[in-house]
Assembly symmetry: none
Homo-oligomer: 202 residues x 4
DNA sequence: GATGAATGAGACTTCATTCAT
DNA sequence: TATGAATGAAGTCTCATTCAT
């Protein structure tokens, strides 16, 4: 009943702090195992304040997911659009994927886990939407080179899978501490392999 | 006066029923969201009976995981060992992976999810062990051909990733209802692509 | 930079809007279930503004109760005082009670519910006070006729109950959508019955 | 995690104790204000045990409501069916209603409050159903006497209201400590008044 | 006067697990 | 073996109310 608001903050700053704290908690033991209590203690915000700003635990995860995906996508597409040749593009996408994974280990872990975690249908739908958007953007860039037969003839979807499939699988192993190859060597080797797999020149 | 146990079953049959029910529950909303209550209702076994046979919720998942992995591994290695040439082997591995995915949709979904689910360290360790065993077996089969330079020179780990990465990623999309390519066309196309990616002949 | 109050209204108008919104909320699910959040959204006033004007959720209900009772009482006593004969008075009280119920369905529902709702002692005391005042006023009007034996010999309290009991019970059923008799037919029939019950002439 | 069941009871006995404790809690401050914590302490059952048997707080109230109504109804209908004449029947119904109210003050208070409390639609429907059943049973008993013109010509519904309306209103006042007339005097006076109101002989 | 961020106690409910029968 | 009553910690979320701006 008697309470004094101690830390009055601008809304966006408060949300920022809660999101950051929540990310740490989700990473520690996973989404389901993270508790509001932990997020509260880690963020310094009160229980009620968190709900005032987010409305639910899931909403925090949703905002984090959108943020992580946006950063990844922007990074990748920016790198892609700086390239001229398809070979450079293929190499850069693989290299940058692994580099982003390495530099943003937390985000990668969170995005990987939440994607298969038990989230509700609405959130799952949003994830698929973002997946499709990214795949489309990549495919669009390669389309002219596919028409010129510089890149193997594959449906757009499979081309993207051939491009990212191995490094996604590698990243998963690396995050889990299971990779015997170093991630830096993998950058080069998987870039070579991807170009070998996609080029018609070999 | 005393209630008589009505559903006395042979132990293995009762466990079978509980495992089957649990698989359905885990698939419905994920491991964490599934409750003993649901498994109890779905299996017809009582609370106490389930604990008598399994000891914990996690133990049920562990048994299911072992079972699913064993079936997958046996299927894949049997297919691999019937092959003579590296090309046939590469094609068969991709094809059979996708075929197994298609024919055992439930198992695939369960294995995929539990792999990133929030399980304890012991279970995670067991998963990695089984991963490594399978990778080693595949690599061992290809080793002679790698030495003969018929297969691209890649560390064993990356070779396996190059082989399965795309079809794992495809399977994930297909399970989620997101694949625009049919899984049967994908079998052929991804087999071609895998061979193109791994062969030194191209 | 600073947010400007956008909806600055004369105090009484703002209170009016909040009361109206609160009445709707209380009617929807009852006093206890109505939340300040709902009242805030329904009224357009901010959290703080509501507290500035009322001080508490209960105070809003109290003001509404006083308002509803005042309207009912004034209506009934005005109608009573226009009568000359006890028969006309009995008939008019029953008729007008049901007519007011019909024309002010919302108020009736609110007054009925709040009367048995879980409110604090202070408010309960105030309710009883108003009940007694009304009963006294009615009884005072009939006193001369009771002394002249035109109206059955009953303690004042029971006389009023005999007068209003059936139509209160009917109103309760009608509000709940349970009445099989139409409220307009009930006006006449219950007026007849009340006169039959109270008159010594029969 | 570690727990020892201390008070293992037959299911019905445990439910009995919880219901009794809940009735006391609901009476103390009303349904909404009563907490599971209070019921737990008052009943001696654990939190989980209560949910094992009832599933929700509302379900406890529902069972109590059914029980109270059943007791009231059985008492009243048994008394009614022992009568021969309509006069005796009218008097007995009024008298027994007030006597039951007096002897089962707790039940009356609970039934009165819960009826206007904030309960969900399903429970409200059940209440109306029981109301209608009782009214029908009473009306059926009087039907022959109405046809013989020994009882005033009123639609069944209004007849019942004329019969019980005043004593329901009185009971409400008496429970609230507002009645100036004693309940025992009221039994006789309201029985007389009811007969005067319903009989055609006067 | 108005706003809405902040509070924190406490609400109901769920759950894996235990164990007497 | 089977049953299901019992446990109680812990979960998410709600709420009336306060007060700095």
């Amino acid at each position: 009943m008697k309470t004094r608001p101690l830390n009055r903050l601008p809304a966006e700053q408060r949300k920022r702090e809660v999101r950051d704290a929540a990310l740490r908690c989700f990473l520690a033991n996973g989404y389901a195992a993270a508790t509001l209590q932990q997020i509260r203690l880690a963020s310094g915000a009160s229980h009620g304040s968190i709900y005032h700003h987010f409305g639910s635990k899931q909403a925090i995860a949703r905002e984090l997911y959108e943020e992580g995906r946006r950063q990844y996508t922007q990074h990748m597409l920016a790198a892609l659009r700086r390239q001229q040749s398809p070979e450079a593009a293929v190499r850069v996408l693989v290299t940058e994927h692994l580099r982003w994974t390495r530099l943003h280990r937390d985000w990668t872990l969170f995005l990987t886990r939440i994607a298969t975690a038990e989230v509700n249908a609405e959130m799952r739908g949003r994830m698929m939407e973002l997946d499709a958007e990214f795949a489309d953007a990549v495919h669009e860039w390669f389309a002219p080179f596919i028409r010129k037969r510089l890149i193997v003839r594959l449906p757009a979807e499979l081309l993207v899978l051939q491009l990212f499939g191995p490094c996604i699988a590698f990243a998963r192993r690396w995050i889990g501490g299971m990779a015997s190859t170093g991630i830096r060597s993998a950058e080069r080797l998987l870039a070579d392999a991807a170009w070998h797999a996609l080029s018609t020149e070999n």
